[in-house]
Amino acid sequence: MGLSLISLFLLSVMVFIGGQVLPGNVGRAILGPLADQQAVDVLNESLGLNRPLLVQYGSWIWNFIQGDMGTSYVFRAPVSGFIVDALGNSLKLALVAFLMVVPVGILGGVVAALNVDRPLDRIISIGGLSMTVLPEFVTGIVLVLILGIWLGWLPISAAWPSDAGFFTQLYYLILPALPLFLSLFGYIARMTRSGMVEALDSDYTRTAVLKGLPWRTVVWRHVLRNALLPTITVVATQAGYLIGGLVVIETLFRYQGIGSLVYTAASGKDFPMLQAGVLTIGIVYTVATLVADILYSLLNPRIRLRADQ
């Protein structure tokens, strides 16, 4: 918990450096090389960029904690409103992708492990891992071509009609979620597989088999319980990454999420928006990791009960 706070602090410092220190002259960066020096100075002044860095950081982070993420250079409106909406949208998309990939990924890993070193295992392992390293824009475009354009089964844009109900929204989110599915499947399947293989080769599995328990009971009661523990961490970590890793998908499908927000801000050199977006993504990731750690220690008696001894 305390470590997460330290991480968040360091994170904010890095984001601050990236957004406010590295660009050097922000006013110049925004207005471009041809702008009048006076205009640049005025802009810097109005943005409070000529104060000492420490003061700038202090007021930025203090405002951020209070929910004031600054004002967008481009939209001339508070950043926080954009962030909240975008985060909500991204969570929706991530959730859809997750509900698809977690069960299938775990199943894939389990099936691979139960057939270890056989062709089915090789197909799942290598195929899954190859999908993981494919950039989402590549899988996205191929899927759009096949499912959206050639077959016409799914809408190629995630921008659903404004009166869309739950199922319509879901329908619109399937195609954007598919590339995410492909990129996560390999990860989750691989972690599950290695956890499973380790558990299957363990002495306690041997004990369970030699007790004469039916294979089903051995797998369900003895193997899965231990095998899935490491998977939990991976799943939660990936959840964090997923939400931040949506830049490409959201851009490709014109979806108003946090990823496309960051992309738009980056393209428009809208530093307050960019900083707020990146910091939000970092916070989501840190929280997801924390949740994973807590979940892991709750489910693992060796950690849970250490305090008793």
Binding site: V116, D117, S202, D203, Y204, R206, T207, A208, V209, L210, K211, G212, L213, P214, W215, T217, R221, H222, R225, N226, L229, L299, N300, P301, R302, L305, D308, Q309
Partner: protein, 691 residues
Amino acid sequence: MTDIAANALQLDNLSVAYRVGRRDRAVLRDLSFTIARGEAYGLVGESGCGKSTVALSVVRYLPRNGKVASGTISLDGQDVMRLGPEALRRTRAERVAMVYQDPGKALNPSIRIGRQLTEVFELGGLSGQAATDRALAMLNRVRISDPAGVMQRYPHQLSGGMQQRVAIAMALAKDPSTLILDEPTTGLDATVEAEVLDLIAELRRGLSASILFISHNLAVVSRMCDRVGVLYAGILVEEGPTDVVFNDPRHPYTVALLRCLPRGDQRKDQGRLDTIPGYLPSIGATIKGCAFAERCALATDLCHTTPPPLHDLGGRLARCHYHERAQELPRATPARVEFAMPPAGQSEAVLRVDGLNKTYHGHGHALRAVKDLSLDLRRGQTLGLVGESGSGKTTFARLLLGLVSPDQGGHIELDGKALAPRLGDRTDAEIKALQIVFQNPDSALNRSHSIRHLLSRALKRLAGLRGRQLQDRLDELVRSVRLTERHLVVKPRQLSGGLKQRVAIARAFAGDPRIVVCDEPTSALDVSVQAAILNLLADLQSKQDASYIFISHDLAVVRYLSDRIAVLYLGRIMELGPSEEVFAGPHHPYTEALLSAAPSLDRRENTRIRLDGEIPSAANPPGGCVFHTRCPRKVGAICETTEPPLAEAQDGHGIRCHIPYAELARLQRAGAARPARETSLPAAHPALAER
């Protein structure tokens, strides 16, 4: 199903192979033996002989690359190899059970003990309360004092001894007709091992199960089993009643193996241990004649060309062409000592340790690993350190070497000069004076470097040699540990365990050390290799006049090499004195317990001092005398309140006990007359008595 088969377990011409690198490598070759109902059969052999493969074949749990090439295995007359999946499951559920090494791994870490036990009974048709009741009863039977509490625990909350009892309870829960014990006490502390062995022996009386007991430890097998089979390279070379085989072996391998063991009265100044030359055939090697012929001094042309049959010698078997002459096997290593030892007790002290303490701080509480330790070591002598886990012996070694820093106040003196506690503050001369041979050469030798590099580096840094001088000294060093030029070019992993340990010893001796700490240097090695290493250490010591701090849990090994012995318990010296006095007694009750716990081939003891309970945690040692919680000779309240001093009972022999020396002498001379608790061994099995 009716059990009409006379034998609980019968193996006929079993051959098993492992597929490694696209080639089948034979592990078991034509192995046959039978175990009668209620009989305990021991299978002994060195690592790589295929012992565990036998066990795994019987329960059909070979690794994925292993397969039974030919032969049959029958359990209660049923061919195990022909069972379908469901029949196999039922056989495992009803007929055969197995307990193996490392109980911490054998129990499921995320399921409570209770659940892991009740599921066995549920398999037998019981449910709910009935299963729980049976589980409780079973835990009681394996003498777990708080069964209900233990049921609620997870495996990691139990000590190793408790875990193994639970594993035994689980195995016996189904009342199997065959129980396989594969190194069930290996890795446990001596006193805990003794308890578990007692338990197994006791349970046998109430059980009908036959036992297949697999162990590398001949003494344990001799104590536990009616009959024994000796396995060499996957071949059964000798079989017979345990005491007959061990007292009158008829195969040269058995003969040689028994000679490698340091026996009670053998000492380094009286002679060297015998060794077995050469090496075990590698797994899957083609064997033309007798598997042991390469290493056998009795072997003739016949042995190299014709595999000997298993000769039936009336109630016993031996696979040797010359079984009648087996005991004439000449020694591989002469017993004669080449260098005269300096007369004991006369040399000056090279090392003095005074009031050394080490406390580890972690997670809120302090752990006193070493408490108030004082001793000295004389030139050319060996100080043996004996103790179980948590005794602080390894911490002490690391303190001496400067690898960990002691608490304030302690004092180490090397050759009369104070030695800085931290390694970084020591001079190069001090560094090279104190070296170590680690327990595990795989860990101690950098696997990326060739042997030549490993030794040259040590010579360069420790002896300050360069160029030609270094080469000459390297040759000399290599010869002194009986390695050859060929070994220099390889990496450690291409050498066997014994050769690796020789390299480690050579490295420790590179800078002509004054003191070498030997931290369990032979505990990872087979007995035949161990003997050679002990001989080497003894030779080097007498040649180089080096002093040893020799750490071991094996009393016979310590006794062979040590001039003085310190017995440690929870970081304290409980007894310190000349080796022979410590062994002969009177000794500290803990030493007494350790000695009686150690299984030995020589002593067919009737009485045993059994220690109750587990070794307390060093983080939370008992008050008063730390041993009082387990002491069979506890005298009263004083033991719980006051820690006794290390009183000098006789010249140079100290005992940390409230009982006066004379009283200890009287109590222990009375021997088994009335120790606080004693148990007698179960009578020999009826099957054996009938012979």
